[in-house]
């Protein structure tokens, strides 16, 4: 819908003023306010024939960013959008929140349902699923440092990061963005819970102009103050310089020292589906079986006994599935795991997925109420939990630094990150993917040569069973859905072919 001020717009030509005399246009809010959301919910409810059976999902967001390549910023941008999904009889998405658009989104599917099924069945007595305010944790998701950072500051930072690479004769390409979302969910009695959230990320790739070396570093957080951009630039440059003119090694089984980002890239397939790249996708795809460690759906076999019909009894709950030093958990009030306190109407809660290597919790699809209540008894039964897709892996008291891991390795490889990891086989979670932006040979406790990239074919579950040393978990580059991962030393990791790409 074209907004009303449009009708009364000034003539298209002839009214331009010199730039110094341009009257200021008041800046509209960068994302929707709590009051606007409340009004939108009320409007949809009023329009719907069956308000208690109509779900509305609302999101609005702002992002401001700077991108650079070949040592120059290539674009500085600002982006805003709104998302409305009305799920009732069908699903309608729109980014317009005027009355006509919202009513169309509600009425249109209802009309089609009436055509096929006749008059609609009566509405439910109350909204299907709503939780009390007190069940939602107070998570760390807002940072003024992120929200108030000016574009000028971003450009200065970007140029500063570029300079270090340029001085060294290298080429830097990178991306720095900050943004904010207004998330919202409905509580009982038509109240809403408003959760504004900020997001920041910074990553860069430094390459040798001849194309013989490449280094990457990046990190994301809700809080810009938690991102040390200068350090990232130093790491990326160092990795680039040290990765030049790599030697080839034979593919085969190697002891690998994985930096935290590499650990994340490898194991993330256990948590996330490619479709869920941010909270909004997570929200939209809630009905899909994309939640891993999930007892009844696609990823089931990792945690259930292969070949058996899947019931809660046939899962590996209570059995050791990975190295006994490892814990996998999620705590919504961990500042480094700041994520939205709900998924749809469901509050997120602390979860211990794996305790000392033993599978202690499974995830379930929150939208399947029957399954949820019958099988798991959410939110009472601790065996089932909502997968926020934010997670932490740690080795408890066993903490070894990357340097110590290298020093204690007779022969192995140091991996910066993996790229293009894809699932090959569901039962074993066998994956394939490549190393990228920094791979080195370790010999007799020392890094001796940069190495040509390699493709691996390995299951993250196998790797997590071959752990020799665990480091301290740190935040990694995972915009929107934060994760804390340790560096790991893993033996017998299977590399299957050479990748000459740099």
């Amino acid at each position: 819908m074209i907004a009303e001020p449009f009708v009364t717009m000034s003539p298209p030509h002839g009214d331009s003023l010199p730039s110094h005399a341009v009257p200021p246009v008041p800046e509209p809010p960068r994302f929707l306010s709590e009051d606007t959301y409340r009004a939108l919910f009320a409007q949809v409810r009023a329009a719907a024939a069956r308000p208690n059976m109509t779900n509305i999902m609302l999101d609005s967001q702002w992002r401001s960013d700077v991108r650079w390549a070949r040592n120059r910023t290539t674009v500085a941008g600002d982006w805003r959008n709104i998302g409305v999904v009305v799920k009732g009889e069908g699903e309608v998405f729109t980014n317009q929140i005027d009355r006509t658009s919202l009513e169309a989104a509600v009425h249109w599917p209802e009309q089609i349902m009436r055509h096929f099924r006749g008059p609609l069945a009566p509405d439910a007595d109350a909204p299907v699923t709503r939780f009390e305010r007190k069940l939602f944790p107070a998570t760390y998701i807002w940072s003024d440092a992120t929200y108030t950072q000016s574009q000028d500051t971003r450009l200065q930072i970007a140029n500063h990061l570029i300079a270090s690479a340029e001085v060294a004769g290298m080429l830097s390409a990178g991306y720095l963005s900050v943004g904010a979302h207004g998330y919202v969910t409905e509580l009982p009695d038509h109240r809403i819970l408003y959760a504004p959230r900020t997001a920041a990320q910074c990553s860069m790739t430094v390459r040798d102009p001849e194309g013989t070396g490449s280094g990457w570093a990046g990190v994301s957080s809700y809080d810009w103050n938690r991102i040390d951009a200068e350090k990232l630039a130093a790491v990326a440059l160092d990795k680039c310089l040290k990765s030049r003119n790599p030697v080839r090694v034979e593919p085969g089984r190697y002891t690998v020292v994985m930096e935290p980002q590499a650990t994340f890239d490898l194991v993330v397939k256990l948590w996330r589906n490619e479709m869920n790249v941010d909270y909004w996708d997570l929200f939209k795809n809630m009905n899909d079986s994309t939640l891993p460690f999930h007892a009844a759906q696609t990823r089931r076999v990792t945690v259930s006994k292969y070949g058996e019909a899947v019931t809660l009894r046939s899962t590996k709950l209570g059995e050791r599935i990975i190295d006994p030093r490892l814990n996998i958990s999620f705590d919504p009030i961990d500042p480094d795991l700041g994520c939205v306190p709900f998924i749809g109407p469901y509050p997120i809660r602390p979860v211990r997925w794996v305790t000392n290597g033993v599978l202690t919790t499974l995830s379930f699809p929150p939208s399947l109420d029957v399954w949820t209540r019958m099988q798991v008894g959410y939110p009472v039964d601790p065996r089932g939990a909502l997968n926020s897709q934010c997670f932490r892996i740690d080795g408890g008291a066993h903490v070894t630094s990357v340097d110590d891991m290298i020093a204690t390795t007779a022969r192995g490889l140091l991996v910066t990150r993996f790229w293009g990891v894809q699932l090959l086989d569901v039962p074993s979670v066998l994956c394939t993917g490549m190393t990228r932006d920094g791979l080195w040979l370790i010999e007799h406790g020392k890094i001796t040569h940069p190495v040509t990239n390699l493709r691996f074919t390995e299951s993250p579950i196998f790797a997590l069973n071959q752990v020799e040393q665990v480091g301290a978990p740190v935040p990694v580059f995972s915009p929107e859905l934060p994760a804390l991962l340790p560096p790991l030393k893993v033996r017998d990791f299977s590399f299957t072919s050479l990748e000459d790409a740099v």
Binding site: A3, W108, S203, G211, A501
Partner: protein, 568 residues
Amino acid sequence: MQRREFVRASATASTGVALAFTTPRIRSSRRLTRSSSSAATTAATTALDPTSTTTLRDPRVRALALRTIDAARSAGAVYADVRLTNTMSRQMSNAPHAPQETANLGLSVRALVNGYWGWAATPTLSTDEAVRVARLATQYATLSASRGKPRAVDLGTIPVVHDGDWMTPVKVDPFTLDVVDVYDWLVGIDRHLHDIAASRGAPASSAWIPRQDRKEGIMVLRFEKQERVFASTDGNLLTQTIIVTTPNFKLPYRNAVSLAIPDFNTPVQAGWERVSETPLVDLFIKEMDKADAAPPPPPPKPAEVGRYDMVFSARAMAQFLSGTFGDATQLDRTLGYEANATGTSYLGPDPIKRLGGAVAAPLVTITADRSTPFGLATVKWDDEGVAPVDFPLVQQGMLMNYQTTREQAPWLAQWSQKQGQPVRSLGCAMAPTAQEITMQHTPNLMLHPGEGTADVETLIQDLEHGVLIDGMSLQMDFQCLDGYCNALQATEIRAGKRVATLMGAGMLLRADTFWKDIQALGGASSTSYLGGFQSGKGEPAQYTEYSIGAVPARIKQLALINPLRKAS
């Protein structure tokens, strides 16, 4: 007789009659034409279709675009363009009857100041907001220029079109169809085809149909429409409407085989006529005849690791072309502009040096275009107002060009002049919607057929011991050089005969050697034109779609692996 019963009864009639009456009618108004017949709907007979609440084909929108450009210019932009998009999609299937609709508006401004770009976007189409966005984009460009070292951008000049208008040549815009009629049509043809299949011995039960198909229906139709308005400080004012129709029609048949019409289930830039003018029933009967006459599929066996001569189907070749030259010849990518995102290119870091050199066997010619009918990247003007030209990427095995935009064209000036070509953008600027910034993306591609009349059947006859690859999932590395592919449909060939279905086959492919090792290509009649290929780049990532025309090919000595061996 109720209308639905009528449909059911008629669907079982003979082929010629059965579908004629169910042809969906054009909506006479924006109301559901049948809503008045149901007593329950009296309260809400004015329900608007969410996709028709706005149109950019409104004279006020053009005025808004000009006003926006004016604001950017006044704020100091040396060059600026504004894009507005109204993007709609509608998906329907024979079951369930829950519609999925999207309607998405956007306006964004790109401004250039002293070689630096600023960009800003909004979902709100109002004068105030457009002016704000135009000033913000210009302000960001000005700031970037003041904070950065000198950077030169030469956009050259392009012909100015003050009032351009273009639309996908469709006979019927699918968004004008009565939705209820389309549902009835889907249900009708599904029943009709099932009845024919049942009369030929297909199981009446659909119990074996994959879960996903049961959930989504097996007659799925998706329509997309995008209205685009483009204006720039050059004086261009262009309106275009792109319409894409994607049928996905499957028919469960005997032996748990799911039949589909070859090359039909693919997105094409066309209207409802793509479906209505295809003799679906006759073609499905032909597929049933083919399935009945086909020998039983060769027995399964695990793939044996080794090197084999292989035949790739047209679809597999199109996938490989997309993953290699499709991405690798993006000029910005070769130069490192995507280094922090999807990666660079094996044709870099000095792409000019590769021009004129051999990158494929002499029988390989690949062209790029944005003009092929049905092609998903086909337009009259790109997202910078440039009228695209058709151009060769690879001619008789030699690399002839890269994909370019206005900013990128001068980077190839030396080569263009040597070739006697003007230094001009090839028209590859695009963005999925106005909610994303314009970038260089892949246009439609065509792998030209070889001489003669070869097809998959004749190509496999020359295999003493080889493999036929029909379907695959391909993943190339971050330089489009080495690829790993899962061969979803691989068949072992001995002495020209299909002897086994290979299970768990994977392949390691290397772009440069693969293209150079092509020994034979299918003839013109073996061409498949397929849509749905994606060009993905940028931070945040954005994806545009294009189509590829390809022929099957025979390639010597490719490495076959079996990645699942260690898993068992």
